[in-house]
């Protein structure tokens, strides 16, 4: 009974982790096309969600080890129990939600590894960790991924601008890079679906395997828990994981989209295309040539590199620093939470229930906290600078109208810009009213004075008579 409860909780948590993975990573593919206006925000996340769904079904190979070799699993190593996976998932989810709240792109896989490592250390001590693998799979790629992607994107951006730059004052056609952006960002979303959904499938499948091996005593496992003979996941696992990641992607981590699309640097069409192409090329090369790099870190590096490559753009290094700090803390922080959860889970069923309740409370708290400064499709990427981008706002009529510019009609303003307009109007209104009041007061004062003078005159007249 206890084991069944834990397995069920693991499945629920794994699916929720898959969901957070989806909304954490929407930005990798869709932040730049949203920022340049290649895709409308809602269209972009819908496209990414569909491609993630398709991608999840396309992937065939499911992870053979739950921690990617970071923990010495199997013979002579640590037996990863469902409790450990449970605690590790809690750590990963908590860290994913915290980074989301602060709009930091961070690797979901590293969060999962961190949580599992924390739980494994509590269960089996520090020798559970495979040091060399940790170095070669986590630490080195953390530097290599953004650096590689950054250099590639810098070069690609330079090439794109050099080729399309005009010296005769005619139109250079760079707006057309938007069409290519749709293709390149779609490739990233598809690749994400094939890669990331199968991580969760692996977690659930390995949990089911562990359950089967632990319950050999006399307990009969229900039919749905049967794993295919080749170790592949049952169909319901594939289906639910695909749906969870697609739903997560569609709900769009708008905070992270804001960071990648507008927080690091201002993205223009040619630059966005160069960044996305670099991301796609780097991810595909890394997954086919045997040096695994995190999608999130590659995508962030690409945006930074392309920002450095475009003339007249600035990279906000303060934001870069915040993101890098987040990456440094991903493993230890998720690990600490995972370890804590594992400690509590050691109390038995009561501990597991405490974990689940506290975890749920934390999730609800984060969502409640996030409502204080809502970020959604309407304000994720602001209209950057009203004057600079050619967007002009007319004040005077109550509606914010579409404004013709040199490149066509500007779409209706985002809610942030609209509220700015409203505030501006309110300020002018208040100013006008204050001026009116001042004038009225002055008029009243003048009137009173006149009346007093008249009275005086009458009095004088009376005296004279």
């Amino acid at each position: 009974m206890e084991l069944t409860l834990i397995v069920l909780l693991v499945i629920v948590l794994a699916l929720f982790f898959d969901f957070t993975n989806g909304f954490h990573d929407t930005a990798n593919a869709m932040a730049t096309p949203i920022a340049t206006g290649a895709l409308k925000p809602k269209t972009a996340v819908l496209l990414a969600a569909i491609l993630n769904l398709i991608g999840a079904f396309l992937s065939t190979e499911v992870a053979k080890t739950i921690s990617g070799g970071l923990i010495n699993e199997g013979d002579g190593g640590v037996l990863i129990t469902p409790e450990m996976i449970f605690a590790g998932l809690i750590g990963a989810i908590v860290w994913n939600l915290v980074t989301w709240l602060y709009g930091l792109p961070s690797s979901s896989s590293h969060a999962l590894f961190g949580g599992l490592i924390g739980a494994a250390i509590v269960g089996a001590g520090f020798q559970a960790i495979n040091g060399p693998v940790f170095l070669s799979k986590v630490l080195i790629p953390m530097v290599a991924a953004p650096l590689t992607a950054g250099i590639v994107a810098f070069t690609a951006t330079k090439i794109a601008y050099a080729i399309t730059r005009r010296h005769d004052g005619k139109k250079d056609g760079r707006g057309r890079f938007r069409y290519a952006q749709i293709a390149s960002s779609s490739l990233i979303a598809l690749a994400h679906g094939t890669n990331d959904a199968q991580k969760t499938m692996g977690v659930i499948t390995l949990t089911l395997v562990a359950w089967a091996s632990m319950a050999q005593g006399g307990e009969q496992l229900p039919g749905w828990a049967a794993v295919a003979e080749d170790g592949g996941p049952p169909f319901w696992v594939i289906l639910t994981c695909a749906l969870a990641i697609a739903l997560g992607t569609y709900s769009g981590g708008w905070r992270i989209i804001r960071t990648l699309g507008a927080g690091l640097t201002q993205v223009k069409p040619a630059q966005g295309f160069a960044a996305e192409t670099s991301t796609a090329a780097t991810i595909l090369a890394s997954s086919h040539l045997g040096f695994a790099l995190s999608t999130t870190q590659v995508a962030s590096g690409s945006v930074i590199g392309s920002g450095l490559g475009r003339r007249g753009s600035t990279v906000r290094w303060r934001t870069v620093g915040r993101i890098a700090t987040g990456w440094l803390f991903t493993l230890p922080a998720a690990g600490a939470v995972g370890a804590l959860a594992a400690l509590i889970a050691h109390l038995g069923t009561v501990g597991v229930i405490i974990d689940a309740v506290v975890g749920l409370a934390f999730i609800l708290f984060i969502f409640w906290r996030s409502r204080r400064n809502r970020v959604d499709h309407s304000n994720a990427v602001n209209v950057p600078d009203v004057a600079e981008s050619g967007y002009a706002v007319r004040i005077g009529s109550s509606k914010v109208r579409k404004v013709p510019t040199k490149t066509g009609t500007v779409p209706p303003l985002t809610s942030v810009a609209q509220s700015a307009v409203r505030e501006d109007k309110a300020a002018r209104e208040a100013e006008r009213r204050a001026a009116e009041e001042r004038e009225a007061a002055a008029r009243a004062a003048r009137k009173a004075e006149k009346r007093a003078r008249k009275q005086q005159r009458q009095q004088n007249n009376g005296d004279a008579r």
């Binding site: 070069t155 399309t164 490739l187």
Partner: protein, 97 residues
Amino acid sequence: MINWMAFLIVFATALASSAVVVTLYSLGIRFLATPAPKARRADGSFEPDGPSRDDEDDDVDDLGRPLWATVAANICFGFSVICVLVGIYLIVPALHG
């Protein structure tokens, strides 16, 4: 322990392939933006060039583009489409086994 060779190969491949894709598409746009041949003035001189242009959101002018430019642009875009197909081939495991 750390496979630096694999890393270098990944780096070189990513750099080369994204450079190729970006070059192809940029060339396509450059060809699309080819202006009409310059008109000769009455005194035999050409119109002077405008200032160098580095705009971000330009669309292309379709007026008077020579046919060869349109053809070249579409060839470039065709190769770009092939690059996308190669990408899909690499992403979908069922296609490359």
